[in-house]
Symmetry: C2
Subunit: 695 residues, 2 copies
């Protein structure tokens, strides 16, 4: 519980200063200016008072209880100060001081000492190298932070690893006139973590939307658990920086941040139900809509406009993002015809005309609210001097107060001349934007969230026709032998244990044995050389395809024996699969996360166009289907211009079986089924590799 952090009954500042331009002074000033409701205790052995408040020599001298202590003294004195806090019974410290993990070397040691000392006393640490927190709750008014933006109370809570980014976002909400509930920027995060903060806000009824910024996830599992739990209750809007190599480098050289697993972070966001953004402004603008609007049930937008061009731009933006602007029903059209100007356009977009009055707007909005095939309402509202814009605003606000569908308004106006109209809309909880693109993107975010929410949760299919014990024995054996990669026979054995269709295969110890094996399997076959000395079979002449009779097999085997000349040479004989489409399924372990499962179409699609999709294991049903559908070349899977498609259900099943395999067997570092030959009615793995974790 982080109540002592976000709702402190009292705050002390170790390093309180009489100098105006110091953090030890500013923290106290901010608490005063923001109207903190509890007692403040400056700690400064050289001053009698700081900013008019009695100062104490030591935290232990403070007469009352102290919940929260700011520490703003030089880094090397911090562990000692925490020890003092322990003696006093302090609950939580915010360490603003820098010079810890982010500087490496001694700083890392110091940070370790901070954690150990605090743990000894049962103190929670926020930071170090951080800004602090803000809570706008009228009963608390805690501004435990040295920054400059003073938010008004609202329903958006902000947590950001970087103080600079937290401040920019907070500042933007302030400019937009939108309130904030709580704020936290925890820097090095040696103890109190972002997942913990998110979880705390999940239980805070006044927090309706959580805004999140991270540069890396030090503990993906902890993050996923907390985020999934909270995202089920309220929207989390997330942004991850360091997505380019250069950005990641900049991130890791700053505040000891972690910048790894680029694909993984966005997948984790998606998996847990966090809506991902790549732009702070877009995130802030969307948050405004999330804080007041319901989530639409679908993609179908009804547009109302009193000006032409901006409706075109909004249409472009919405349609580009996959939203729909469907035609209206006959009933709607006739109702509009009755209630709007004759020259008005009663299609969707509905152009009520620049001269439209409050009644016209109301009729159009009501029509869209009643329309079954419309999920959300977008309004372009320019304020011509010759109409009563105030009445129009009142109508929009009135509908908004009871609407079950979201309303988004692009309000094109002069903010000074039409301040009353703006106020009416804002006070009425109507999210207003200054550009059609901005308004459209916020509606797109609401709609994306609806689909994200529908896709999180969902089933993880598990298969019970699996011979786990057999697979486990092979894995354990390979692990004991310290193998980096499994032998082919073991690999195929494991796949078969997990019900994955493999081309029929036999091991063979020599040419004649191979011929016999081929005859058992049936021609044509493939012959592969197996030896600890062979790394890249095909490069070393260790693969022969499409062998059509015993002689061909014998000749190929003899050739390989000559070329490879290894004592441990054996052969793998496999049925040769003709035709079909090559697909690839793989999984790799990501530190602290589990496995990332991959799907792609073989050949140029993976290698040239990098057309692959990922999901975090265990893969849910909906995710597995999406892995196929999200490929740029996905049409190849359903059949394209005479080429037949693939057995979709079985491909999805193989993805799920591989997901189950790597989840069951964490000793597998990587697995690669490449290629799988997919036909319309079946699929067959024809080559596979399993790599093991180091023992």
């Amino acid at each position: 519980m982080l109540d002592h952090l976000f709702k402190p009954g009292s705050v002390a500042v170790i390093g309180a200063s009489t100098k105006e331009l110091s953090i030890g002074n500013r923290v106290i000033k901010n608490l005063q200016d923001f109207g903190y409701t509890g007692p403040i205790y400056p700690i400064n052995p050289k001053a009698d008072e700081v900013r008019g408040i009695k100062a104490y020599d030591s935290i232990t001298d403070v007469p009352g209880e102290v919940d929260l202590v700011h520490i703003v003294i030089p880094n090397k004195f911090v562990p000692m100060a925490i020890d003092d806090c322990g003696k006093k019974g302090v609950k939580v410290v915010i360490v603003n001081t820098a010079g810890f993990k982010e500087v490496g070397g001694e700083g890392e040691d110091l940070e370790r000492q901070v954690v150990e000392t605090a743990r000894k006393h049962g103190i929670r640490v926020f930071g170090p190298n951080c800004q602090g927190i803000i809570n706008t709750d009228p009963e608390i008014r805690a501004y435990c932070n040295f920054t400059f933006t003073k938010p008004t109370p609202g329903h958006i809570s902000i947590v950001a690893q970087s103080g600079g980014v937290a401040e920019v976002i907070n500042q933007r909400f302030s400019e937009l006139g939108v309130g904030v509930r709580m704020y936290a920027s925890n820097g090095n995060a040696c103890d109190v973590s972002i997942p913990e903060i998110i979880r705390y806000w999940g239980d805070d009824p006044e927090t309706r939307v959580i805004v999140l910024y991270v540069e890396g996830l030090p503990n993906p599992k902890e993050f996923m658990d907390a985020a999934a739990e909270v995202a089920a209750k309220k929207p989390i809007l997330g942004m991850k920086a360091g997505r380019t190599d250069e950005g990641a480098k900049a991130a890791s050289s700053h505040t000891g941040g972690l910048a790894r697993k680029e694909i993984a972070t966005e997948l984790i966001f998606k998996r847990t139900g966090i809506l991902t953004f790549r732009d702070e402004e877009e995130l802030c603008q969307a948050a405004v809509a999330f804080a007041s609007q319901p989530i639409p049930d679908g993609r179908r937008v009804g547009l109302i406009t009193n000006t032409g061009g901006p409706a075109i731009i909004a249409t472009d933006e919405l349609v580009d993002a996959g939203l729909e602007i469907p035609p209206l029903s006959e009933g709607a059209a006739s109702s509009l015809k009755e209630n709007l100007y004759e020259a008005a356009s009663i299609n969707n977009p509905i152009d009520v005309l620049a001269t439209a009055n409050a009644g016209h707007f109301r009729a159009a909005i009501d029509t869209l609210m009643d329309e079954d095939d419309i999920d959300s309402v977008y309004i372009n509202f320019v304020t011509p001097f010759f109409v009563d814009t105030e009445s129009i605003a009142k109508e929009i606000a009135e509908v908004n107060a009871v609407a079950k569908k979201p309303i988004i308004c692009n309000l094109m106006t002069d903010k000074n001349q039409w301040s009353t109209t703006i106020g009416t809309l804002k006070d009425g909880g109507v999210p207003c934007y200054s550009f059609p693109e901005t308004a459209a993107r916020s509606l797109i975010a609401l709609t994306r969230y609806n689909e994200l929410r529908a896709n999180t949760g969902g089933e993880i299919r598990t298969f019970d026709d699996i011979y786990v014990q057999g697979a486990r024995e092979i894995i354990d054996g390979a692990f004991d032998e310290g193998r980096e990669f499994l032998r082919s026979a073991d690999t195929y054995g494991i796949l078969e244990s997990y019900g994955i269709p493999v081309a029929p295969w036999r091991r063979a110890t020599g040419a004649e044995d191979a011929v016999r094996a081929a005859e058992e399997i049936g021609f044509p076959v493939v012959l592969k050389a197996e030896s600890s000395s062979v790394v890249h079979k095909s490069d070393e002449g260790g693969v022969a395809l499409d062998l059509r009779d015993g002689d061909a097999v014998r000749e190929a085997a003899n050739g390989m024996t000559r070329r490879i000349a290894a004592d441990d040479l054996e052969f793998l004989v496999q049925g040769y699969v003709e035709g079909g489409t090559e697909v690839i399924v793989g999984a790799t372990e990501e530190e602290g996360l589990g496995h990332l499962v991959m799907f792609g179409i073989g050949g140029v699609y993976v290698e040239l166009l990098e057309d692959v999709s990922f999901a975090v294991a265990p893969v849910r049903d909906s995710e597995a289907g999406e892995m196929l559908d999200s490929l740029k070349a996905s049409k190849l899977l359903t059949g394209f211009r005479g080429r037949s498609g693939v057995d979709r259900d079985t491909v999805i099943e193989v993805i799920q079986r591989i997901s189950q395999l790597v989840t069951d067997m964490p000793a597998i570092r990587e697995i690669d089924l490449n290629p799988i030959i997919a036909h319309e009615d079946r699929i067959t793995v024809v080559d596979a590799r399993i790599g093991m974790k180091e023992g």
Copy 2:
């Protein structure tokens, strides 16, 4: 010359009204409020005065000369009013009234009458169905417009087809505190056109940047000529709406706008040197930078930051767009080491630390300005309370005043508390932004513009080894015959006349003739059936590939004769080309523009992935190369994983020869070389089609 429109010596308003909330009143109020420097003449037979100014019964009663007349009376009276204006010797009319081409039918007739009447008197018409113009020139102060935003004088001029969009952009510059020079929104544009306005501003020294919004280009050639001429002198930042089908539909149903040629408009922008945007906010923000900053010579950005997270975000944004953040020279590093805090990061990004003072910032900026490998400077400047931000701002502004490299500043601050610092930067001409993404995107726009500028102009290669006369005779003959598509032999004849390498071919009239032709060409060959009754050869069994001897040719020819059984059946015998990569070159005529030339890689790349590139004919050298390089699968052309590449120079040459062909022969409606078989050392057209314009 549009001086009478933008610098009117006097303005009359036909339809001047005493009613406050009418356009006929508001236009006069706006002129008054904005401080128009010339006389205003209200025309209203029922009033003695309007807004305190003497009114006249008719325009002909006005005592002085009248340059510009606003017409705000009902549509059907407009032609008559223009006739009166003619009698008075008026130079230009702004027709605000709607109900013309955009409503169709009678409106179109009325608009034609407007144009004819005006032409008779030598009057220029602006509109109809339009807002009007603004000129902030202190000696003019013309606000001939009924909208509400009053711009301050500046160097950006705005022209937009849609009044709503023009207003939004104007409003945004006003909010950003950035001045505007002139403004024009000409609605239906029956006479004064956007190209004409652009050309006028090209000659206006106070216009440094032109912002352009269109929904369609009614006359692409006129537009291209004007835009190319002006873009050579100053930046034009352009946006085109209606890029989705739905958006285009919305555009064409509004104000009689044209929404066609989606690819073409962006290509025309690029060809003429207009920087394309897809977002108004991004365009406005970029315009601020263009209005004060030099254009960088390259992509290499030096970053200075006093906060961590925003530097990561800026890095992501810049690198994603292809900009570079190169390491600094040793000299730069040692200079930084000497002048910055010890803990500062002297890499690029340079982290001067939150505590950095003016001297630190100055040292970092000077270092980047002196660094040869840096083309532009990006600054993240958060304003901590404990530093003297005003001094930092002064240093930045001081360098900016003389800098030859552009400076962009992401200023993270509270606009009220740090208003002096903001003022120092803005007055110093430093473009300031509130988010790292926004600042980065404006720098990206400057950099994109540098590359765009470098790519416009350039050579158009023309070939003199061409037998134009031969090609022309074939085309003329086909035209006279009223053919929709040329015969194959004619098609190949034209290609050969233009020096395009075609697989060897012969016409043959029967099976034996075909065998002889095949022997002349050399086996293997392809046999194609030719008949006016055969539309899709391969679907109708009219193509036989890889025929290896005379018997095979005979058999194929006899089979086709049986199947097709047409009186005019002939054969085309062609050399069969093996191996290689299939590419496609084509060209289609676009109304009012000339031809659009297309390039793609055959097979799934064109059909499934829609991986094609375009350029407007005549295609310049740089454009032809870019057509190859801009494909997603362009690596296939240079060779990829064992597959060899193609003869790049010859592919480029074929694109240019096709460009020359369609430019020489405007009767060609479409041409399609599909496929061309491209090998490493040669390319060969193996199938082609030429479609003719209707006679």
